[in-house]
């Protein structure tokens, strides 16, 4: 599940004019889903079922957010 807002309705974590909000299901526990952003790829590269892996980003000095990026197939997700 993902979508890519094209207008800024507030501060996105990515601070970019367009970002991909998504819900990711963790392979470690079926049914466990987290809200996140998909980063390090173009919106066109995203599809439902895309394997992703976590990447932690310091949003500011207090807040670290968990994003996901496309994962090479052999890497753990």
């Amino acid at each position: 599940m993902y979508e890519t807002p094209r207008t800024s309705t507030g501060r996105s974590a990515a601070r970019s004019p367009s970002w991909a909000a998504a819900v990711v299901e963790l392979v470690e526990q079926a049914g466990l889903r987290v809200a996140t952003n998909i980063v390090n790829c173009t919106p066109e590269a995203i599809s439902i079922g895309l394997p992703v892996r976590v990447v932690y980003v310091d949003y500011d000095t207090k807040l670290t957010l968990a994003y996901f990026e496309p994962a090479p197939e052999e890497s753990p997700r």
Binding site: P5, T9, A14
Partner: protein, 385 residues
């Protein structure tokens, strides 16, 4: 329902982008119009309900019950408002339940909204402290209405195998019906599929025109014991069945996107009546976003999974066709009434009061509203004492 409950009258305020009226004034205007439509006086009303209510809510919550009670001079013995639970029709559900249980005989319910500058709402939702379930999604830019519901839309399109371009047909259908309704914000402004595809994306796959236009507007509905029918100005609409089942997961933001409350309501509603989907003459499904009527039509059994988009694109849901939907123009055509108007229009259709949008010979209608786990449906028929 064991005791019969009817929709006795409905009323609307002025509608516009900036009417200069407060949400309280809009509510009172709609309530007075509903009393007039029902042929009742304020002294006949002994119950008052709303969704949600300013008390404990935010700037989109409408006036308090207290304000409307004072303004109309009502003497009520039942009152209830909630922003949680079965969403926009919750005020009608609680009114019907109150009448059936004997807590009240004649209940006024209302919803009043005012158009807000979008930037103000968005900044408020994204820059202030996120609370409740939104604390998990807001940091990722999915706190506002369109970004959040775009996630659900994407999942619906994926699971149902619906071509995203069919969302355009929903918008065109609503805009066409808005031409039958002089109150509609898009009256005089129909839209073509080409116009649709020219509209900017707000949150993919949703375009600006896939989202309802915020307006100042209020709608009020009067429910009554069926044995009051003789006192009414016109024949009422009988509530045959209702359902507000949320499903097993009532979390809002991280719910099972593939199975919203509409699915569970579809499972329950038809167990409470001998009527079947094929008996229904007109459906008023919630359309705050264009994908929502599709899952309502499919989940309530009016067509198979993934078939609603094609059904609308083929023109089968226009007034005059086999299953008219959103006959007042829907929220996509009229503006964001926010749901209770679905019940008002479904009732008008079966008592023959839908004016230019009247579905000839309509005897059975369904109103349904909500998204995610919050939703409700009411099945109405013509009433004969």
């Amino acid at each position: 329902l064991t005791r019969k409950v009817v929709i006795a009258g409905v009323g609307y305020s002025d509608l516009g982008r900036d009417t200069g009226l407060s949400e309280g004034a809009l509510a009172v205007h709609a309530a007075r119009a509903a009393l007039d439509d029902a042929g009742l006086d304020p002294s006949d009303i002994d119950g008052l309900t709303a969704f949600p209510d300013r008390q404990g809510g935010d700037e989109f919550s409408g006036p308090t019950l207290n304000f409307v009670q004072r303004s109309l001079g009502l003497d009520v013995r039942f009152w209830m408002a909630s922003g949680n639970g079965p969403a926009q029709l919750s005020c009608a559900i609680s009114a019907a339940a109150a009448i059936e249980s004997g807590l009240a005989d004649v209940v006024m319910c209302f919803r009043s909204v005012v158009a807000q500058p979008r930037t103000k709402v968005a900044s408020k939702r994204t820059s202030s402290v996120a609370w409740n379930e939104a604390s998990f999604s807001a940091p990722y830019g999915a706190a506002g209405s369109a970004p959040k519901w775009a996630l659900v839309a994407r999942r619906y399109l994926y699971e149902s195998g619906t071509d995203p371009s069919l969302l355009g047909s929903v918008v065109v259908n609503c805009r066409e019906h808005a031409q039958l309704n002089p109150r509609a914000i898009w009256y005089g402004q129909p839209i073509t599929l080409d116009d649709y595809f020219d509209a900017p994306l707000v949150a993919e796959p949703l375009r600006r025109v896939d989202c309802d236009m915020p307006v100042d507007a209020a709608v009020a509905v009067v429910l009554a014991r069926a044995d009051r029918a003789a006192d009414l100005r016109h024949a009422p609409a009988l509530i045959q069945a209702m359902s507000c089942a949320p499903g097993p997961a009532i979390e809002h933001d991280l719910m099972d996107f593939g199975r919203q409350s509409s699915y569970y309501i579809g499972q329950e509603l038809w167990t409470k009546t001998d009527l079947r989907p094929a008996d229904v003459d007109v459906v008023e499904p919630y359309d705050g976003f264009s994908f929502q009527p599709l899952h309502w039509l499919e989940d309530l059994g009016f067509c198979g999974r993934g078939e609603a988009g094609e059904m609308i694109a083929e023109g089968r849901c226009r007034v005059g066709a086999e299953l008219p939907i959103c006959t007042d123009g829907g929220q996509l055509g009229v503006g964001r009434y926010h749901g209770l108007e679905k019940l008002a229009q479904a009732a008008r259709q079966v008592w023959g009061g839908a004016e230019q949008a009247q579905v000839q010979g309509a005897e059975v209608s369904v109103a349904c509203a909500g998204g995610g786990p919050r939703g409700a449906a009411m099945l109405l028929t013509t009433f004969s004492p």
